[in-house]
Amino acid sequence: MLQIKNLHASINSKEILKGLSLEINEGEVHAIMGPNGSGKSTLAAVLAGREIFEVTQGEVIYYGKNLFEMKPEDRARAGIFLGFQYPIEIPGVSMVNFMRAAVNEQRKYKGLTPLSSSDFLKLMREKKELVEIDSKLTNRSVNEGFSGGEKKKNEIFQMAMLEPKLAILDETDSGLDIDALRIVANGVNKLKRKDNASIVITHYQRLLDYIVPDFVHVLYKGRIVKSAGKELAFELEEKGYDWIKKEIGEE
């Protein structure tokens, strides 16, 4: 579904991604790990279409289409979902209006009629249960006054509502206690299907106890320097990233 070829991206003329390649197929879970500053969040933002990053080289093909020719909202409607590392607070915009607009835009894109209010509220109820999110959160403004854990749960809730083809979870585990982590991971697992895929970006191996990846990639200095099965995550946890540096001949 997604082919990333030799991707270079920079911010303020500083190159962050330096030739990254990766292929993702339906049904796969990819974990991307790497030390701070290696470019993990940049990758997520570039895939979602954040305009502050400039793509200088390479291409990304999503279901046969050039991703860079799609606006952020079109990418979302076509099934790309970014779980933000730091979800944005939008005072005054209610969660209900926000989600209704998002769901109906996606339906419009697929040629479906908008959901009626009652169908929409029913859908919200179902998904809320799925991710164990409190009703009082969905009655508030988007992320406003949410705790760190609530914000992350809210991201998973939105993912459940939008049923993406490709979910990119950017450090969804950071700042979560063990219960919240379990709930978030459960949500992700329940949403897993044969025809969708996810990219789980994380710093720690901890999350991968709950979300079992098919592939683990190590991102370092803007490039994938090592890819393997899930056992790589354990190795990293044990030996740290210095080991990788040695292996690629840096030290």
């Binding site: 952020p72 909202e73 979302a76 409607r77 939008i90 915009v93 607009a101 835009e105």
Partner: protein
């Protein structure tokens, strides 16, 4: 300009005085004397720094120094405003009370009608209130209005009376050429009374209407008055809307203004708290584009201890629109335990738009809680991206953020039909769809 206004007065003095009460005429003469001294306020003073009055008053205006007879289809006007609002409807045309086809079934003792007629019928009330809140000694525009004032809205709510239904006042300006008027309104709420007033300002023809209006408001002990104003006039109109309010002990005065359209809108909100535990809330939302100019001026005077005031003004400026907010809180020497708050937030949508904001605190008492804040900025790009990353189009996402921005002011309107209607109008306005109200037969332009 001042000379022309003076000459115009002298020319029409007989018409102005004809059928006005003696009290109005004696005040008129004094105000005229004072106007000759003051003239129109100029830009050198701080209060009228951002508005070119001299220029705005230039033009070849006609005036109507007598009530006008017009055939207006009342039911169509009714639709034009707040459809589901169960209200008493009052119509004013070119500043004259239009009583021909109105029958109001009012609670006992409540008076609603023509200022000019009521002044003759109830001299006691006018003796007590007329020209007692808006001083023509300091402000040349008040002096000008008081010199020229003939008619306008009069509302009197006696002691202990609660008007359940809102009074909806429709101000219509209609003429086949440029037109100047000096509307004068008087609203008195006696002790323990309660009223809500919705004022809708409209122009029906695309000419330059210059309305230098003054509204005096009196909220007596324990009374509660709310005024909601929808300003929706054509792009060449000039509306100077001066509201001078006095609030007594435990009284609550609320003013909420939605400025949607207008060439130049100048709102003066002058609120004095004269009794302990009085509360004043003044808020406004303004959405300006093209070459429109909005100028909000507030002066909240804490003259006595233990009062509360809140001001919230938020606005969005697009194209070449310009705006000014000049807000002042004065806490006098003995006004201890005052709580006074003021905030002005602006969003600029275009590089040719311009906003000047001047929130001011002037404090002479020490046991006070006062704060003010002002911001001017643009749409939060992170929020915009977040919405877009969920599949919402950029245009729609901008709109959602704008509406959320405006909603803080609209949410203060405490009855649903009007709030929903204003939400709808603001939504339409932001979509660029509102040049006329739905179902409206008149062409506001």
């Amino acid at each position: 300009m001042n000379n022309e206004l003076i000459a115009r007065y002298k020319e029409n003095e007989n018409f102005l005085k004809d059928e006005s009460s003696d009290l109005m005429n004696s005040v008129r003469e004094k105000a005229f004397q004072q106007f000759q001294k003051l003239g129109l306020p100029d830009k050198n003073g701080e209060d009228y720094r951002y508005i070119e009055l001299e220029k705005l008053f230039q033009g070849n205006f006609s005036s109507a120094f007598k009530p006008q007879k017009l055939s207006v289809d009342f039911s169509s006007l009714f639709q034009c405003n707040v459809p589901d609002l169960d209200s008493y409807i009052v119509l004013l045309v070119n500043g004259w009370y239009y009583y021909q086809n109105i029958k109001l079934d009012l609670p006992d003792g409540v008076l609603i009608g023509s200022l000019r007629e009521m002044a003759k019928k109830h001299p006691d009330i006018f003796e007590k209130y007329y020209s007692k809140a808006a001083s023509y000694y300091e402000d040349g525009l008040v002096a000008l209005n008081t010199a020229y004032a003939q008619d306008g809205l009069f509302i009197y709510v006696p002691q202990n009376v609660v008007i359940e239904k809102p009074v909806q006042v429709i101000n219509i300006l209609v003429h086949d050429g440029d037109f100047m008027l000096q509307q004068r309104n008087l609203i008195c709420c006696e002790e323990n009374s309660n009223a809500k007033i919705v004022i809708c300002d409209h122009t029906l023809t695309p000419f330059k209407f210059l309305n230098n209006s003054v509204t005096e408001v009196f909220v007596e002990n324990n009374a509660n008055l709310s005024i909601f104003n929808i300003q929706d006039q054509n792009n060449s109109s000039v509306h100077i809307n001066a509201v001078h309010a006095k609030t007594k002990q435990n009284g609550v005065f609320t003013s909420n203004t939605a400025s949607l359209h207008g060439g130049t809108i100048r709102n003066n909100f002058i609120a004095t708290m004269e009794g302990a535990n009085a509360e004043v809330n003044i808020s406004g939302i303004y959405l300006m584009d093209r070459k429109q100019h909005i100028d909000n001026f507030t002066f909240v005077d804490h003259a006595v201890p233990d009062c509360v005031s809140n001001q919230l003004f938020k606005g969005i400026l697009d194209d070449e629109a310009t705006g000014a907010f000049n807000g002042r809180i004065l806490v006098r020497k003995d006004a201890q335990r005052t709580n006074a708050f003021q905030r002005n937030n602006n969003v600029l949508m275009s590089d040719n738009a311009r906003m000047a904001s001047k929130p001011q605190l002037e404090i002479y008492a020490d046991d006070v809680k006062c704060s003010h804040g002002a911001t001017s900025g643009h749409i939060n790009e992170d929020a915009l991206f977040y919405l877009r990353s969920r599949g919402i189009s950029e245009k729609e996402a901008r709109l959602m953020i704008m509406l959320a921005f405006a909603n803080e002011v609209i949410a203060k309107i405490d009855f649903a039909p009007l709030r929903e209607r204003i939400e709808e109008l603001v939504d339409k306005r932001l979509r660029g769809e509102l040049s006329r109200c739905t179902n409206c037969v008149v062409n506001c332009g």
